[in-house]
C-alpha cells in the first residue's frame, strides 16, 4: 500500500481541498486516549491519530486489529467527531455498538483499554458526506437506525462548529429507550434548531406518544421535509432499516438522487 502524498502543509481551517476524492492513506498507528459509555451496549472511543489528513462529516475509517499470531481483522466505523482539517495529531471519535457474538465490536467495547494502540486508515468515503461549505442552505433530513446515527451526529457537530443555520431534521429509530446514543447531546442540539423525533420499535418509554413499532410512511412524511423543497436525505443504519426508509422516501416523492444511504451490516431490525 502506498502513502498518500498530502498537498499543502501544516494545519488549515477546513478539510484539505480534494479530501472528498482523495485516496485514503496507508495505515497509521493510533492510540486510545479516552473512552466513555454511550449507552449500556455502546462505547465512544477517542483515538489520537498522527498526521490525520482531515475528514468530512459522514466519512468513516477502517480499523485493523492484530492478534498475537499475526491474524488480523478489519472493520469500518463512522467518524462521530465534527469535520476537521489536516493536523499533526487529531482526536477522532467513533462509537461502537456491541454486536452479540461479534468478533471485533465486543473487543472494542469491552477489552480495548486507554493507552492501547490500534491501526487506523482513512478517512474513507466521499459520497455520504455533508459539508457546510458545499451544502449549506438546503434543508437536510437525517434518518438513523441504531448506531447509524453516528455519521449523522458528525454532520450535526460540523453544522454547530461552523455556526451554520441550515435546517436539519432527525428521525431516529431504536429498539428500546436504553439503546439511544448521544441522548444529552441530541437534546442540546435542539437549541441550535435541530428538530428530532425518536421512534422506538420494541419498547417505548412511558411518556412516548406512539406505541412501539417501525417508522410509518405518515411519520416519515410528517417528521421529514416535503419532497417539493428537495431536501438532502441521509439514511444510515442496518440494511433492513435503510431499505425500508429509502423506499418510503422515494414513495413520498423524493428524488432517488437526493437520498444518500450508508448500510452498516446485514442485521435487519
Amino acid at each position: 500500500m502506498t502513502e498518500a502524498t498530502v498537498p499543502g502543509t501544516g494545519t488549515d481551517a477546513g478539510p484539505r481541498l480534494g479530501a472528498r476524492y482523495a485516496m485514503p492513506s496507508g495505515w497509521r498507528v493510533a492510540t486510545l486516549v479516552d473512552a466513555r459509555a454511550e449507552s449500556r451496549t455502546a462505547r465512544t472511543l477517542v483515538l489520537d491519530v498522527p498526521d490525520w489528513p482531515g475528514h468530512l462529516a459522514g466519512q468513516h475509517l477502517d480499523l485493523r486489529l492484530t492478534a498475537p499470531d499475526g491474524y488480523t481483522a478489519e472493520r469500518s466505523y463512522s467518524i462521530a467527531s465534527a469535520a476537521s482539517g489536516t493536523a499533526p495529531s487529531v482526536r477522532v471519535e467513533i462509537t461502537v455498538q456491541r454486536v452479540p457474538g461479534g468478533e471485533v465490536s465486543g473487543y472494542l467495547t469491552d477489552a480495548f483499554a486507554v493507552g492501547d494502540a490500534i491501526e487506523v486508515r482513512g478517512p474513507v468515503g466521499g459520497w455520504f458526506v455533508w459539508s457546510p461549505v458545499h451544502d449549506a442552505g438546503r434543508p437536510v433530513l437525517l434518518a438513523a437506525g441504531g448506531s447509524g446515527v453516528v455519521p449523522l451526529v458528525s454532520m450535526l457537530r460540523t453544522r454547530r462548529d461552523a455556526g451554520d443555520r441550515t435546517p436539519f431534521r432527525l428521525v431516529y429509530s431504536v429498539r428500546r429507550p436504553e439503546d439511544r446514543l448521544y441522548v444529552d447531546e441530541l437534546a442540546r442540539r435542539a437549541e441550535d434548531g435541530l428538530e428530532a423525533n425518536v421512534a422506538f420499535t420494541r419498547a417505548a418509554p412511558l411518556d412516548a406518544r406512539r406505541a412501539p413499532g417501525r417508522l410509518t410512511l405518515a411519520e416519515l412524511g410528517a417528521w421529514g421535509w416535503p419532497a417539493d423543497i428537495e431536501p438532502a436525505c441521509f439514511v444510515c443504519g442496518p440494511t433492513g432499516f435503510v431499505e425500508a426508509v429509502s423506499r418510503t422516501l422515494v414513495a413520498l416523492g423524493h428524488d432517488p438522487a437526493c437520498v444518500k444511504t450508508e448500510r452498516f451490516g446485514p442485521a435487519v431490525d
Binding site: 491474524y71 490500534i118 448500510r263
Partner: protein
Amino acid sequence: MSTLTPGFQGRPRPQGVALPPGQYVEAGFPVLSAGPTPRVDTNTWRLDVVTESGDTRSWTWPDLMALPQDEPTVDIHCVTRWSKFGTTWRGVSLDTLLADVESTADFAMIGSYGGYTTNVPVAELLGGKAWVVHTFDGAPLHPVHGGPARLLVPGLYFWKSAKWVNRITLLPMDEQGFWERLGYHDLGDPWREQRYQGD
C-alpha cells in the same frame, strides 16, 4: 512499535479455505449501495452494449432468456470485508453476449438503472470470468441484490458486479466509474487487496 490491540484474539481462523487478505466469512448476504433500490420492470428491461465506434446492440428480457444459460458457483468478496463462499447463480456468460461484438477496446464502463457506473477491464469480463445473472440460489434475483439482472464478476471486489445492469460501454482508454471517482480502486483485485486508489 508497541503491541497493537493487546488481548485481541479474533475468531477461530477458517481452515482450508481460500480467503483473500483482510476478509472474513459471512453466511448472510449483506447489501451495499449508494442510494435507494431501483425497481426495474422486466417488460421494459434492456441491456445495451455500445462499442467505441458507437455501434449499439440491445437485448430485451426475452432475448436474454433465449440465450444459452450458465450456472456458475463462485466465491464473492465485498470491499467492506465480507466474503461468501459457494454462491450459486444462473445467467448468461459475457463470452456469449460479447461474442459477435466488433471491438478492440480494452476497457468497459458498466452502467446501471439508477445511474451507478463502474469500470472493468475487458480482460476481466471474458474467458469465463463474468456473467449477467438473473437468478440467485434458485430464485429470481431480488431488487436489493441487483434484480432483475446484475453483472457477476467474482474475480474482483463485488462493487464491480454492478447491480441493475443495463449498459456496457466499450472504451479504448480506462475511465473511472462512480465508486472509483470516490477513491475506490480501478481494478479491485481482492487477492492483491486493491481496495482504494493507490493500493
